[in-house]
């Protein structure tokens, strides 16, 4: 069962899910993305909203590169941060980014997660330190993610 679902309307047939499997996979996907973004598991209501959003937003055909990335992440859920980072650089409008953005939007507009998206104030020295650490982490994810991304694309080819 794939964690990232390519919709049944898509042309990417090998990983097409349907019916109950589709629903189950989207739910797993929702929890995985929420845990990745915020380190917390969302309520069932938010998971269902994510399912609904997927059915509304991801209805078009899926191209091969998206299919390869989604397929890779489905098989290797640990790779989400890396593939997200690489996609931000190489394929910012790709399907993986779209799905993570969608979950981000759903989490942000729920009272239980709203605080996680509101600005934080820290002292300037701590701010600089945090930015430095975050910058390093982001760069590392991009470097490793770009390598993984190439592997994912090649494995599809």
């Amino acid at each position: 069962m794939g964690l990232f679902v390519v919709h049944r309307e898509s042309c990417f047939s090998p990983r097409v899910a349907s019916g109950a499997e589709d629903q189950r996979s989207l739910q797993v996907e929702a929890r995985l993305i929420a845990r990745y973004l915020l380190g917390r598991v969302p309520s069932q209501e938010l998971v269902e909203r994510y399912e609904e959003a997927n059915r509304a937003l991801f209805t078009g055909p899926v191209d091969q590169e998206d299919a390869a990335v989604i397929g890779f992440v489905s098989r290797h859920p640990w790779s989400v941060p890396f593939m997200d980072a690489a996609s931000g650089l190489l394929r910012p409008d790709g399907m993986l980014r779209g799905k993570i953005l969608t979950m981000g939007a759903i989490l942000e507009t729920s009272p239980e997660f709203a605080d996680e998206f509101l600005p934080r104030t820290v002292r300037p020295t701590r701010l600089l330190l945090r930015l430095f650490v975050l910058g390093l982490a982001a760069a590392a994810y991009i470097v490793l993610g770009t390598l993984l991304y190439a592997v994912a694309i090649r494995s599809r080819a």
Binding site: P81, R97, I100, L101, E108, T109, R120, L131, Y141, I142
Partner: protein, 534 residues
């Protein structure tokens, strides 16, 4: 018997209708009149942060019931039009089809027109600017004052006063947020040097009520301006329409799509389609005021006169966003009490003296939601979110407007629809290379000044031609023009009694918001027509 028909309930239409109705004339306002009935009732009258922490239904209006508020792809024109504002553009592209290449077209068939989502900037043209339009400040000043009194304007008598004619009914300015306070404090410290170099900063004049005013306001600083019209503090043309509906000799006919007019003898006949039934109908009056928005009016005029394949000019202020980091805000807390409108306005006089002006507005970012900014960083979303939470209070977004003048590359043509297809507008907008180069150079000057105020540029976004939505200039006022121009009364020369009261009549547009100016001109058109019909 109807004296005057007004087409469109936007800023031009309602402000043209007021003097007519107040003079006792019988006025019929014909409108399509789309409204948001889905989201507006859901939005609590609470502040943005209270809503975020408490309202379990917030996803419905923030994201939309069909998740239409989640943007994919690059920043688009009208990105600030949130799901509760989406009705503003609904149906227009179908009713008035436009082929526009890279020129962004946003038309409205909403009650209030594009004014229903107006950012409320009030920037009257100066005498020098008006003289380039065959008008002058003496002509327009009484109408600026009348409109300002009607809509309620808040502002300050500060360094920008020399660029904007004074307004006697002005209320105290809206409070600025912490971000803008820091920028303003830095400006004050360098004020003399900056002024000498041609840079002036002040509080924007805004069509908002900071006091109780005609049953509206005072503004409550809930930071929800992109989503709802709380307390009616911000002016919308719908408020004037409601006032007009209180007059017995004013009639409002909505769900009508006006597609042509015909002059016969001393009367003008307007043809419209009922939006729901598709039935054709016509209405007659002594005079017609078209205020369907520049593009809508162009479509109606060119069809009515049979002017297919005839090019008329088209203008739209070039617009660029620059995201900057306000270093003075790093480590400081943003006050929760704030609004989402422009916080500060800058006017830059590009050297040499007497040269071009450029206008910039400074905005802070919060209530359009963080996830939309995450998309703009080329990083993993998790790291983007963590970085944005730290930096967002320090973001200052500059919106830079340039003037626009006609040139051969900017034109609008009506093409006959094939078979049953509707006639289509075809817009070409190709500024000269020199113009583009000058605009880019001017942006660098603006950015340089803001850098002196501690705002360091992070990213420049050019959303493309048409992005400002300040469409204008299709049937310009010209002292001695052809039949597709207007006389100084805004009467279309090809007609006996058809007047234009939107952006169509401006032969060039200074780098300021157009809306308040077209409202003043509409009020002038209505006033002139009263004299003529009496």
């Amino acid at each position: 018997m109807t004296d005057v028909i007004v087409v469109g309930s936007g800023p031009g239409g309602v402000n043209a209708a007021v003097p007519l109705v107040e003079a006792g004339l019988n006025v019929l306002l014909v409108d399509y009149g789309n409204e948001d009935r889905r989201y507006a009732p859901l939005i609590p009258h609470e502040s943005f942060s209270e809503i975020r922490r408490a309202d379990s239904q917030q996803h419905r209006y923030f994201l939309g019931d069909h998740f239409e508020g989640i943007p994919f792809g690059p920043v688009r024109v009208g990105a600030q039009l949130t799901p509760p504002r989406a009705h503003i553009l609904a149906d227009a592209a179908v009713r008035v089809p436009v082929d526009s290449g890279g020129f962004a077209v946003s038309m409205s068939l909403a009650r209030g027109g594009l004014g229903a989502g107006w950012s409320a900037g009030v920037f009257p043209f100066s005498d020098g600017e008006l003289r380039g339009m065959a008008l002058n400040l003496d002509d327009l000043k009484p109408h600026y004052d009348a409109v300002a009194e009607r809509i309620g304007v808040a502002g300050d008598h500060d360094d920008l006063a020399q660029f904007f004619p004074s307004s006697p009914s002005m209320m105290p300015a809206l409070d600025i947020d912490s971000n803008a306070e820091v920028v303003m404090a830095r400006y004050q410290r360098q004020r003399e040097a900056l002024n000498a170099a041609g840079f002036f900063l002040g509080r924007p004049r805004v069509a908002a009520c900071t006091q109780h005013y005609h049953g509206r306001g005072p503004h409550r600083y809930l930071d929800m301006e992109y989503w709802a019209d709380m307390d009616r503090s911000i002016y919308r043309p719908q408020w004037t329409l409601e006032d007009l509906q209180g007059f017995p000799h004013f009639a409002y006919l909505n769900r009508r799509f006006v597609h042509s007019f015909l002059e016969a003898g001393s009367r003008v006949r307007v043809h419209a389609t009922h939006a729901d039934t598709g039935a054709e109908e016509s209405h007659e009056a002594a005079a017609l005021i078209l205020a369907a928005g520049t593009l809508g009016t162009a479509w109606i005029v060119l069809r009515s006169l049979g002017c297919y394949d005839t090019a008329v000019p088209i203008l739209c202020n070039p617009y660029t966003y620059v995201a900057t980091l306000n270093t003075g805000m790093l480590g400081r807390t943003q006050r929760d009490r704030r609004h989402s409108l422009g916080q500060l306005t800058a006017i830059v006089r590009i050297p040499p003296a007497g040269g071009r002006l450029v206008q910039a507005q400074l905005f802070s970012y919060r209530s359009l939601l963080t996830f939309k900014l995450m998309k703009e960083l080329p990083l993993a979303y998790r790291e983007s979110l963590r970085i944005l939470r730290l930096l967002m209070p320090s973001f200052a977004i500059l919106g830079i407007h340039h003037a626009d003048r006609p040139c051969p590359g900017k034109s609008c043509v009506l093409r006959l629809g094939k078979g049953d297809a509707a006639d289509r507008l075809e817009i070409t907008y190709r500024p000269t290379e020199e113009e583009t180069r000058a605009n880019r150079a001017d942006e660098k000057v603006v950015i340089r000044f803001f850098r002196r105020l501690g705002c360091w540029p992070l990213k420049t976004v050019r959303p493309g031609h048409g992005a400002s939505l300040h469409y204008a200039g299709t049937f310009p006022i010209a002292p001695d023009g052809g039949k597709l121009t207007c006389d100084v009364d805004s009467r279309l020369r090809a007609t006996r009694a058809v007047y234009l009261a939107d952006g169509s009549v401006f032969p060039w547009i200074p780098p300021k918001g157009l809306t308040f100016n077209l409202m003043a001109n509409a009020n002038r058109v209505g006033t002139l027509l009263v004299e003529r019909l009496r």
